[in-house]
Structures are given as C-alpha cells and as structure tokens.
C-alpha cells in the first residue's frame, strides 16, 4: 500500500537508470545514511562502536568484495583472508617505508597490491572451475600466510611477525577516538558500496553475471571470459584489500598474520552465502549475522545465569553457530537478501491478498 511505484513515471533515460528507481527506496536509503552518519555517533557508546559497528562495517566491505567474485562472477574463493592480509601488510609497509604518506593513499595502495596478488591467483580460474577452483584458491591462503610469517622483509624484520600502526590522522584530525574511527570507516564503506552497486549493473557487471550463469554460452555471444574473470578478481581483491587495510589499521591497530587466517576466509564466505549471493545489500545482512551471533551467544549464558566454563561456552558457541548456519541454508538457501526481497514483494500489495 505504501511501498509501490504507482504514479512514479519515468520520463527521461536518466530517471529510468537510477540506482534506486522507487522513491520509497531513495527515502529509506537517505534515512539510513543520516541515521548512520549523524544519529549513531551521537547515541552509541564507545564499546558498541568499537566492538560491534566498526568490525561489522569493515567485514561488510570485505563481503561486498567477495560477493562480486562469488555472487556475481561465480568463482568460489576460499582465499579472501589472504587478500585482506595483502592489503593490510602492503598499506602498513607503505606507511613505514614512505613516511608521511596520507592514510587514505596508504589504504588505497594496499588495495592496489591486493589487486595484483588477486589477479595472479585468479589466472587459474581461466582453466579450473567450481570446487576445484575453491580448493585451488586455498593455495593463495596458505602461501600468503606463510609469506608474512617467514619472509622478514614484509614485516620490516620484526621478530614475531607482529606489526603495529602509529597514531592515525586524517587531514590533520586524529583518528584515535571511537567516533572518528567509525565515521572514517563508514565513509569508506558507503562510497565503496555505492561504487559496487553501480558497477554490478554496468556493462562489466553484466558480463560477470553472464559468465556466472554459463561461461561457454557467454563466450559464444562475445564476452571474453579472461577479461571478465580477471576483472572480477581484480575488483574483488581491491575491495577486499582495502577492507583488510581498514581492519588492520582502524580495528586491530596491531596484528600478526594469524588475524587473516583461513577462518577469516570461511567467515567471509559464510557472510556472502547467508546474506545472499549476488546482492550488495545481502553482504551487509550476512556481515551483521556473522558479527552479531557470536556476540549474542557470548551474552546468553551470563543472562540466564548459567555458570559455564570459558572452554565449554566456546564449544557450545561453536555448536550453535554451526547449526544456525545449517538451519539458515536449509530454511533459505538464497540468503537473507532473498527474504528481504520477498518481504518487499509482500509489502507492495499489503494489506490486500492479491
């Protein structure tokens, strides 16, 4: 009743090609942005910003990057953590070796290095498909983990492989407070989400989707598989690399290669699958699910007053997390984004049945 496009006529090509064609969507997105940029910093506590919102935003960004590869181009990757690591370490190295490089440039260059590594490990995708590719991308994960542990140059000869970033500033503003960090991350995520949303409906995005749906058919109608697959790997690992740099610089502060291990890759893949393959919005849903569930599970025993050991609690958390994932896959294999889409369809005709 309230959510429908009646009376919204498209009288120009411009209005026909908007990102959000329905006015209600535009209002909703604007409201969300206002809420995120103005209301949240005013209301949220430091703990909430640092422990929940910042990780959620950065992981959403990484999930968007992965979703471009898996959801839009159909190439499964289990090496996302590695590309995050490359982004983080490259950005850190640039900061250390070229003192005075602005933070934003560092982070973007981190993304650029991740792009290079991503394209190199994307080359096998031209020959290898499906599950074979998934396992092959593990090569990236293990190789990168090893490289940052064993090659001292990358960690500037720090003995334990542990690196830490100095005090961050952006245009002369210190990024030490939770609110400043949050706003910095939020701006990155908002810009990249918008770019990604635009990219996937461009010619490039359509090529990716054609390759995903049937690559032989796509090449028959004149799409170059090599170009399409490698651009997907490049764009995806750029975004993932940027998110890795953000994760290291703004969330962790100091980290070691373990911060980007295989579990991180699995976690990101979970976000993409649970959120919904081939949906930018789904990446946010998935990230919210994966970030919030462990936090919630952590608090439940103490709320119920159950005296659980740390170990047992961790194991039970594992079990519940695993079964929730299976449950979601069974209940809605197309992810939370699909539930959202169904909800919107229902909303259009509400309160009438047809």
């Amino acid at each position: 009743m309230f959510y429908r496009e009646n009376g919204q006529f498209k009288t120009s090509y411009r209005s026909d090609q908007q990102i959000f064609p329905i006015r209600q969507d535009r209002v909703l997105v604007t409201l969300l942005l206002v809420l995120a940029f103005v209301a949240v910093p005013l209301l949220a506590s430091d703990y909430f910003l640092k422990a929940i919102l910042i990780p959620f935003l950065i992981l959403s960004l990484a999930a968007i990057g992965l979703n471009i590869l898996v959801g839009y181009c159909g190439q499964i990757s289990l090496g996302t953590g590695a590309f995050m690591a490359v982004g983080a370490y490259a950005a850190w190295n640039i900061g250390v070796r070229f003192q005075g490089t602005p933070l934003v440039i560092q982070i973007l260059l981190g993304g650029a290095f991740a792009t290079i590594v991503g394209v190199i490990f994307g080359i096998p995708s031209l020959r290898i498909r499906g599950l074979y590719l998934a396992v092959a991308t593990l090569a990236a994960q293990f190789f990168v983990d090893w490289a940052f542990l064993r090659i001292p140059f990358f960690t500037n000869y720090s003995p334990s492989g542990n690196v830490s970033v100095p005090a961050l500033t952006f245009l002369g503003i210190s990024l030490q407070g939770a609110i400043a960090k949050y706003l910095f991350v939020l701006s990155f995520v908002a810009v990249f989400a918008l770019l990604a949303k635009n990219l996937v409906r461009s010619a490039m995005g359509r090529e990716w989707m054609a390759i995903r749906d049937m690559d032989v058919a796509a090449s028959v109608i004149g799409i170059r598989p090599m170009y399409a697959k490698l651009t997907a790997f490049a764009v995806s690992s750029f975004i993932v690399g940027v998110s890795g740099a953000l994760w290291g610089f703004l969330h962790l502060g100091s980290w070691e290669p373990l911060a980007f291990d295989l579990n991180r890759s699995f976690q990101l893949l979970f976000m993409v699958i649970i959120g919904g393959l081939g949906s930018i919005l789904g990446s946010f849903f998935g990230a919210a699910f994966i970030v919030l569930v462990p936090v919630a599970l952590n608090h439940i025993p103490s709320l119920l007053g159950l005296p659980l050991g740390v170990d047992t609690a961790a194991h039970i958390e594992h079990m519940i997390f695993g079964s929730l994932i299976v449950f979601f896959l069974i209940a809605e294999p197309h992810g939370l984004a699909r539930l959202w889409a169904v909800g919107k369809e229902k909303l259009r005709i509400w309160p009438f049945p047809h």
């Binding site: 290898i128 599950l131 695993g322 994932i325 299976v326 294999p333």
Partner: protein, 309 residues
C-alpha cells in the same frame, strides 16, 4: 642416495595417511556430490572417541586388556560414526537435495563447526593419546646396499600396511557386494540409480558411515603418532590438494595423489626448504596441485569436464 631414499620412504608413509583422508572426501563426493569440509572434524571426533573409549571401557567393565579395550573402543567409535552419518543425512542432506554445490559446501562447514564443538564437549578438549600397540622403535633396512642402511620407522610401516588393507577391503566391498554395486550406481548417476529402485537416502547413510570409518582409521593412525587434539581437524586440510590432484571422483586418484603429495612435500621441504626459510610444506602441495590443474583441470583421474551450452 641413502638419505634421499629415507626421505622418499618418509614421504610415502605420510602420503598413505593423506590418501586415507582423501579417500573419505572422494567417497562422499562421488555418492552425494557434496564436497565434505567436515571430513577433518569427522577425523577429530572419531579419534577423540577412540582415545576416550579405550580408557573408559576398561574402567566401566573392570578388565585390563589393551587389545580388548581397543577392539571395543573401535567398535563403539564405529557406532558413533554411524549415528553421526545417520543424523547428518536425516537433518541436513535430506533437506538440501538439489541445492548448488556452494550451498552444500557451506552446509558441511556448518557441520564441521558443530562436530568440533560437540566432540570437545563430549570427550573433553585436552590432548589425548591413542595406544593401539604400534611398534615404536625404528628399523634399518638394505644395510648391505648402503652404509648404515636406511632408517625407516616401523610405526609408519604398520600404518601404511593398515591403510593399504583398508583400501583393499573397500575395493572388494565396492566391487563384489550388492551394496557396493548400489553405491557405484549412485555415484554414476543419481536419477538412474533412483529409477531402478536404489534408495538414495540409505545409500547416503552408508557412504557417510564408510567415510566415517575411513576417518576413524586415519584418526587412530594419526592420533597414535602425534596425539589427539584439536589441530587434527585443521591438519586434514593438508590433504585437500590430494583430492584435487587425483581428481574429485576417483578412488585410485586419491591414493596416488596422496602418495605423490606426501613424497613431494617431504622432498621439497628437505631440499628446497632451506633455500627459502623453511615451512614450505604447508603450501607446497597446494601450489603443486594448482600448477598441475592448469594443465589438467579435472585432476589426474577425474572425469572429463564436458561443457554443453
């Protein structure tokens, strides 16, 4: 030369273990099209259950025989694997028929999380040992050929023999028995198998149980060598390149791939490792498999991938 042969033997023994774990992957993939990431968790649960029951059962029943305790513990652990297989089919696979490979992969990751949690709650999370009476002392062979002979570990040799026996038994089971024939039919074509009256769900339970028992044997061997602990679940990731090298759908491929990777890993670590700072066996197998796949995307023995528009 003697040292090289020693390295080679060491690699073959590790390779046998990889083959066993790879076999579990292949069995399940062939029969149900599921790439089972939970195989590692299954090995962990099986090994934990073996380690604990072999201590608990003598305590409960009040006898003191290592052999009997181990046999009973093995039987109980096999039952545990059967119950697990049944539960997985009933609660997960049945509801995910016809879903995409990625969804199934993620579901097995969910199962892996669940099993890791469950196993450690049920059996405890410390480091346990399994004692199945494997010979621990090393032996020297070919002493007349090389000076001092070649050092091989009898434990590894026994393990390799056990693994080889298991593979032979499985081969007989698949080739001779009616159930084995049904399993092969399902692996060949789900729909055709179903249309001649082979019950898919029962086949899946059998296959997961068989994979569980393979996991149990792998867990016992691995556990008696290095002890049973949580890292067992991730150690099995090392066996993944085996499967893609040999081909996801090929049992001989898993065995040969396992041996190849085992040898490649050891030889590269010994001869190449010192040049680049060591620890390369973690990724060497993956890169080897990756390069190999570039030339033969379906693995050594995998079915040829045919694309139709």
């Amino acid at each position: 030369m003697g040292f090289f042969l020693e390295t080679l033997f060491g690699g073959l023994m590790t390779g046998m273990l990889y083959s066993l774990i790879g076999l579990g992957f292949v069995l399940i993939f062939k029969a149900s099209g599921v790439f089972n990431f939970a195989q590692g968790a299954m090995v962990l649960v099986a090994a934990l259950s073996m380690a604990r029951f072999s201590v608990w059962i003598p305590q409960w029943l009040g006898f003191d025989s290592l052999l009997l305790a181990n046999i009973l513990a093995f039987a109980v652990s096999a039952c545990v694997m059967f119950v697990m297989a049944w539960a997985i089919e009933r609660l997960v696979l049945r509801h995910l028929v016809n879903q995409e490979a990625t969804t199934l992969l993620m579901a097995t990751l969910g199962i892996a999380y669940f099993l890791e949690g469950l196993g450690q709650i049920a059996f405890g999370a410390s480091v346990y040992s399994i004692n199945v009476g494997m010979p621990k002392e090393p032996a020297f062979i070919l002493e007349n050929l090389f000076e001092g002979g070649i050092l091989i570990s009898l434990e590894d040799l026994t393990a390799a023999l056990v693994a080889a026996t298991l593979v032979a038994l499985l081969a007989i089971f698949f080739q001779v028995t009616a159930t084995g024939r049904a399993l092969r039919a399902v692996a060949d074509d789900h729909q055709a198998a179903q249309s001649v009256g082979i019950p898919l769900s029962r086949i899946w339970v059998i296959v997961w149980t068989v994979a569980g028992i393979v996991a149990l044997v792998a867990g016992v061997i691995w556990g008696s060598k290095f002890g049973v602990q949580f890292t067992l679940a991730t150690a099995t990731l090392r066996a993944l390149p085996v499967v893609i090298l040999g081909g996801l759908t090929s049992v001989p491929g898993a065995i040969l791939g396992g041996l190849l990777i085992g040898v490649g890993e050891k030889v590269s670590e010994v001869y190449l490792g010192p040049l680049v700072g060591g620890g390369i066996e973690i990724w060497f197998a993956y890169v080897l498999a990756l390069v190999f796949l570039l030339f033969r995307p379906q693995g050594l023995f995998g079915e040829k991938i045919i694309d139709r528009v």
